[in-house]
Subunit: 215 residues, 2 copies
DNA sequence: ACATCTTTGTGACAATTTTCACGACATAAG
DNA sequence: CTTATGTCGTGAAAATTGTCACAAAGATGT
């Protein structure tokens, strides 16, 4: 599947962010960009940006900066923007609905292909162009899908997770407070809104003067 | 305000997570817990947990573990769970609505006191018990509020941010894709749903066998 | 053509964070 | 009392990540 385990995780986490901004620049018709400019836009130190880019070789030109078109093309390849990754969303509550309306596909390699919920009023409808199926049909419908966004109530989280994995899902974006357990080989990224808010408040009170940090 | 700048940021970020799970244990009636057990629950290495706790002194007993009641009490104090922090939410779209229904107050020191939106149909109503005011009333209503959750469209982000800061807000949880610019002293945590999904997909494809990581 | 200005890419270093591994103490059982 | 087992707290080592600062290369202007 892949070869470069050399790229630090910290760098890998920043790549999608870079991609987004480079894409913006391209849309704005900008032809070149320096690490300093990019730094101001994404709020990451310019030296860090140069170092990050350098893991992929020499992408820029000295005295000039980076060619936006070239950079964009490079990131498109690196981030597999050409092959679309089908995603399913489980749990069409408020948060789930927000995702369905988000329209990720715009500049992205991900597309939410289908959603699942237990509510009969929702089943059969569409939100943001995404069809909603009943949760009982999960195993049946999930054949091509590799990634899932989990926005179900806490109590269902582990149960649904197991069904997803049995159906071949290898990546889960988990918005429930549950720290779900998965077999090796399955990636889980947790985003706990309550923890994020708590964290912000803690940092506000205990680290008053610092510059902003990632969550 | 505070004194211990000694606690590493990485540790600080995990504190709310620990708190949540210790609270769960307490509710379940558990009397003690070992770093190993906690490790399995929160998916953080047990040595890291012991190290994290040790920054606060000796919270546990050798050969025994940690007393849940004591630990909970300790975290309650450390995370300022006694003084409620008032929060405002700006932008009552799908995502904003999800937050309003989330009911953070349950086991938390944060409470969304008010929300703002530009839509006249929403202004004057309540969601999840939180009153919705017109965005024009922002400066007027925001007196006590120190933190804000930003769930507005991209185009408004920087503009609203500046108004928030003028009104005394010192912490922002930013869900817009914009990397907002703020003066020193204001904390911003960014959560970009699109970047999170991209990131998950990238890790799935390029770091296949690893164990799960934070987002 | 030349001097000057910019900006990259990176070696060296600093800071942060994680992990190992072990002494010390707790508890329980024989 | 002694042994076996479990667990913390923490020095020390390792790994990861971030920052500095500068030579080299190319861009730009006259």
């Amino acid at each position: 599947m892949s070869e470069q385990n050399k790229i630090p995780q910290a760098t890998a986490k920043r790549l999608p962010l870079y991609y987004r901004f480079i894409n913006n620049l391209h849309i704005q018709g900008k032809l070149r960009v320096s690490s300093k400019e990019l730094s101001e836009a994404v709020k990451v130190d310019s030296a860090t940006i140069r170092r990050d880019f350098s893991y992929f070789g020499a992408l820029g030109k000295k005295g000039y900066g980076y060619n936006v078109e070239y950079l964009l093309e490079f990131f498109r390849k690196t981030l597999d923007q050409d092959e679309k990754t089908p995603v399913a969303l489980i749990g069409v509550g408020n948060l789930g609905t927000a995702f369905l309306n988000y329209n990720f596909t715009k500049n992205n390699n991900t597309k939410i292909e289908m959603a699942f919920d237990a509510d009969p009023n929702k089943v059969g409808t569409e939100i943001g162009g995404v069809p909603i199926y009943h949760i009982d049909e999960l195993e049946q419908k999930l054949s091509e899908v590799q990634a899932a966004i989990l926005t179900v109530p806490l109590a269902e989280a582990q149960n649904i997770t197991e069904r997803l994995i049995k159906s071949g899902v290898t990546g889960i974006l988990n918005f429930t407070p549950a720290r779900i357990t998965v077999p090796e080989g399955v990636r889980v990224h947790h985003i706990d809104l309550s923890v994020e808010l708590q964290s912000l408040v803690y940092f506000m009170k205990h680290y008053p003067l610092d510059t902003d940090e990632e969550a």
